[in-house]
Symmetry: C2
């Protein structure tokens, strides 16, 4: 085994780079890094890989959606930091059989999302490889000095909130995979799930709202499933969490898909998961920055993530969402 899981890898990496130079506010292990350059704002930097065979399949994901998703992954990290996006750099390794219309559609998708959020592409690198297509998107954002949201600020007693709906993207992927079979969903529910998977909307306005109003004590984006990402927030904050099944914003049940399972372990929702101190909970509306917000539980001293079922019984949740080391080889 290369590394047991990402936690071990991040610990291993951090031991190698123990220095914290003066300009660095937040380094390895959060959604993005935060550096202080000068003046009254901090810069937020993140980089996200999108790899054929790992993050996408060319037969399921049209190039326009890939361009959108590759940038959305990085912008979602900026959203989780409360940052306003500014610039992006795109590294693109194309496979030898890529055609120009593919590249055009890829940049169309990426460009439409970029323009909507006023992100300018300022550079990158390109190569042609024998293997699959690889994209690496670097996103640069800005946040008011000292106001970046990290994963590490949650305290016992803080409320746990999530935006939008969970498990929709995983349902969409499952529908794309089994196009022919009936899902028992209405056509419009099918379309919504597939849209959520192909064109996820990074919650940038919500992240900036949380940072500006000092509402969130910690935040992370749900990229690898609620349990996995909540566990990361808990580990970083040094506490645990209890969430209630009845409070989770689940999707409709579809044939062969359990909405609860999809919400807990599905991943790629790119919703924001954040904690709010008790003193600030009064400021939380059922919607913020145009997105519905759901209170799903509370942070607590005891480590680990616990789910309170419909029958009131508690169940300890183990992360089964995506982990780059466990889900490979």
């Amino acid at each position: 085994v290369l590394f047991r899981d990402e936690t071990e890898f991040v610990r291993w990496l951090r031991r190698r780079w123990p220095e914290r130079p003066s300009g660095l506010r937040l380094g390895i292990g959060d959604d993005a890094a935060v550096i202080r350059v000068r003046g009254d704002s901090d810069l937020v930097l993140t980089t996200d890989l999108s790899l054929e065979g790992v993050h996408f399949r060319r037969d399921l994901h049209p190039p326009r959606a890939l361009g959108h998703r590759a940038l959305a992954r990085a912008l979602s990290d900026l959203a989780a930091m409360g940052a306003r996006p500014r610039f992006a750099l795109i590294s693109l390794a194309l496979s030898q059989d890529t055609r120009r219309h593919w590249v055009r559609a890829f940049y169309d998708g990426l460009g439409a999302l970029a323009r909507r959020h006023r992100v300018t592409v300022i550079g990158g690198d390109t190569a042609v490889v024998a293997g699959g297509i690889m994209v690496d998107v670097v996103a640069v954002g800005e946040v008011a000095r000292g106001r970046a949201l990290g994963r590490a600020g949650a305290c016992p007693g803080d409320g746990i909130y999530v935006s939008g709906r969970l498990g929709l993207s995983a349902l969409g992927l499952s529908l794309l995979r089994s196009r022919a079979r009936s899902s028992a969903l209405s056509p419009s529910a099918e379309r919504a799930a597939i849209q959520a998977h192909l064109y996820p909307e990074p919650r940038l306005r919500l992240g900036q709202h949380l940072s500006r109003r000092r509402l969130a004590s910690a935040a992370i984006d749900v990229s690898d499933g609620l349990v996995q990402d909540l566990a990361r927030l808990c580990r970083a904050s040094g506490c645990g969490a209890r969430i209630r099944e009845a409070a989770l914003p689940l999707g409709e049940p579809a044939r062969g898909c359990d909405p609860l399972e999809l919400a807990l372990d599905g991943g790629e929702d790119y919703e924001l998961l954040f904690t709010v101190p008790r003193s600030r909970v009064a400021g939380m509306a059922p919607a913020a920055a145009g997105v519905p917000i759901h209170a799903i539980g509370e942070m607590r001293r005891q480590r680990g993530v616990v789910l309170v079922g419909g029958d009131g019984r508690e169940m300890r949740l183990e992360a089964r969402g995506y982990d780059h080391f466990r889900n490979s080889g």
Copy 2:
């Protein structure tokens, strides 16, 4: 054909991103992008892919050298902008058969170079893929406001200079490929060429020296061969160049390798190629920032790159160095 060459691809990309928001000083098509955040310095950002089968082979390049080279490629871009490096983000797609000692040696090589230049690794992304290893290094540097060196500032009459020695890295690669065969070189000359290939030294101090003293009108790093990179500088500056064969800092002749050919088209030298206005030429010493500097020719109005041979005859040079679109599939 996907794109005829990189020039066409860069033009194509630029047409898609015509906007130049206020914070952007230099966008797509130079060694790095330059953004103005606030205060008295500009930020310089670059991203560089290192791909198995394109930029390296695991049987020729030990992991320690790969870590060094992956970072050196990005730092060399910062050097060409006259920037001081600050931070790096590392995206790493490992193949399924990678072992931990490989990852350790990779980060050892990268870390040694990073520490030497006070670069802190602040983040990145990691995944495990079915195909070959892929590295993407993002480097962030700083340069005094308005003082970044671009490719576009050269004028007819400016002197053309290059640091170090050209073709050594390509010779080193050729030696690694044909280990068994005699090269007719001394063992120490062989070692020097292999070292130049495996552990290239980004010319950061020289780049900063050129920027601080306002010596260079334009600069680029020699990553794809002198002709290719000089042609890029000429195109960006809207003029041409005449260089003298006798003035080129060539390596020793080895069996099966023509030093002139290696210098013109070899690539991966990571030396700085820069132009100096006539009024500043007096400030140029035969060495600067600890590196030998060679005057190799002059910029001129007429487009294209011309080589004056030992016999005084002029020869028009066509770029045969590495081009990601021409040298593939």
